[in-house]
């Protein structure tokens, strides 16, 4: 429901910061439940289509989430989110003429999945190519389908292990009002987080190793 980036603690490595977070969760009583992975590939609109239709080049992101192993998500920035079957990837290969894969931009978050009562917490290390770039924390409250309804409750929970790095309300919530939260909303948040981390790479920040 909420995806946030946690900055690396001062004087600690990225790996150490992840360990601090997970230890706090375990002390709280959260149980380890395997691993998770969210990946994202970037596609450029091929040059030929831009010229013929007079559009500016748009980026498309094709994402996978281990929580939904049979699905594939295709998103535009600020645009619609398409939820397709997992073999959507093969279709993308066939569409090579229109969408070109920017292989170097592939980014993913891998980590441990925790369950605490009805909360689902995923603490992941965001890597791009060979290097680790940041830490992502996803928190979901399973019984509730309206994200805005349980945001205060989520905040209280996140404060218990994230302290003052607890994020503000995600922008996706603002447009949701009281419609039902969907997996696509999670993917949009991951996409925004990945984009933020990519930009950090362009302007290197001291302290991230």
């Amino acid at each position: 429901m909420g995806v946030a980036q946690v900055p690396v603690a001062e004087g600690k490595s990225l790996q150490q910061t992840v360990e601090i977070l997970t230890r706090k969760l375990e002390l709280l009583g959260a149980e380890k439940q395997g691993t998770f992975c969210v990946d994202c590939e970037t596609y450029h609109t091929a040059a030929s289509t831009i010229s013929s239709q007079g559009q500016t080049g748009k980026l498309m992101y094709v994402m996978h989430n281990s929580e939904y192993p049979l699905s594939c998500f295709a998103l535009f920035e600020n645009g619609p989110c398409l939820i397709a079957d997992a073999n959507f990837d093969i279709l993308m290969v066939k569409l090579k003429g229109f969408f070109q894969n920017a292989k170097a931009n592939k980014i993913e978050s891998r980590g441990t999945r925790y369950q605490y009562c009805d909360f689902l917490v995923k603490v992941g290390t965001v890597t791009m190519g060979p290097s680790a770039r940041g830490i992502s924390v996803e928190v979901e409250y399973c019984p509730c389908v309206i994200a805005n309804d349980c945001w205060n409750l989520l905040m209280e929970f996140m404060q218990s292990f994230m302290g003052n790095h607890t994020p503000g309300i995600p922008s996706v919530f603002g447009t949701k009002h009281d419609s039902i939260y969907s997996p696509a909303d999670t993917m949009v948040q991951y996409m925004e987080l990945f984009n933020k981390i990519r930009k950090q790479q362009q302007v290197p920040v001291a302290g991230i190793r």
Partner: protein, 300 residues
């Protein structure tokens, strides 16, 4: 006067006395007779004294015994205390204990009935007074109500709460099964027996409540472990709380009113500690009267 059985002289005396009354006999005979008469009268005096003594003794003793006191708190059973064979049969002490406990019981029963009568919508509420007057013949067979009546009552309740939708079906014969959807918060499967709520199961809004053939099913397991399990628990408690056998429709309405208080399920912090979470669980309990939210551990 009866003849003395011990002494023949007494028989003689009688004869003498009758002779006195009759024609005068010889004087010689009289003298002779007088001596024996004197001895007879002495004998009689002795006997009379003995009898008198016995009487006064009896009177004295009976005074000692006294009247069995009527103002004894235990009345006649109090006399058991006079039983000299205490050690063998401790009846009296046992009796006193029994009285003591019966008094205590009565006192506590009085207090309890006072407390229970404060809440009129209770299973144990006293129905003798008001409702008996208002409904002299309160449907004696509420267990067998026509299905149409049940439908009407449910429809009326459905219209009462706009944020709550009640869908009635009869998947297994005559007993109604309600699927109550509360906002976008939760779903409750209510199994009815006539107009009595038999069982409730609380499910998440996004959980499946239908069996494969499209009927409402109540045995589909919930994968959200804690939260709805607890609410199901509380709903069962609520069922036991809202009991009024003569007015089953009131019970269903009260239960639904209580259930509706869960509409702010994830938005209401605990009214006692002010927090949302305690041990990872939100306030699952709703007070039966005020409908305020509390953690299971924070309720009184």
């Amino acid at each position: 006067m009866l003849p003395c059985p011990e002494n023949s002289e007494c028989v003689y005396l009688l004869r003498v006395i009758t002779n006195f009354a009759g024609p005068s006999p010889g004087i010689g005979l009289m003298l002779e007779d007088c001596t024996s008469l004197i001895s007879v009268s002495a004998h009689l005096t002795l006997k009379k004294n003995a009898i008198l003594f016995s009487f006064s003794e009896l009177e004295r003793l009976s005074n000692l015994v006294g009247k069995p006191s009527e103002n004894h708190p235990l009345h006649n059973s109090g006399l058991l205390s006079l039983d000299p064979v205490q050690d063998k049969t401790p009846l009296y002490s046992q009796l006193l204990q029994a009285y003591k406990w019966s008094n205590k019981l009565q006192y506590h029963a009085g207090l309890a009935s006072g407390l229970l009568n404060q809440q009129s919508l209770k299973r144990s509420a006293n129905q003798m007074g008001v409702s008996a007057k208002r409904r002299p013949k309160a449907q004696p067979t509420t267990l067998v109500l026509p299905p149409q009546y049940v439908d009407d009552v449910i429809n009326r309740i459905d219209r009462m709460f706009p944020e709550m939708s009640i869908q009635l079906s009869r998947p297994n014969g005559t007993s109604a099964m309600l699927l109550v959807t509360l906002g976008k918060v939760l779903k409750v499967i209510v199994v009815m027996r006539s107009l009595f709520i038999d069982r409730t199961i609380v499910k998440g809004y996004n959980e499946n409540v239908y069996t494969e053939d499209g009927k409402v099913g109540y045995c589909i397991s919930s994968n959200i472990k804690f939260y709805f399990y607890l609410v199901t628990d509380h709903a069962t408690t609520a069922l036991l709380h809202y009991q009024l056998p003569q007015m089953p429709d009131v019970v269903v309405r009260s239960f639904m009113t209580w259930l509706r208080s869960y509409i702010k399920l994830f938005q209401a912090p605990c009214q006692r500690c002010g927090k949302f979470l305690q041990d990872g669980l939100p306030p699952t309990w709703r007070d039966f009267r005020t409908l305020e939210a509390f953690h299971d551990t924070c309720r009184q």
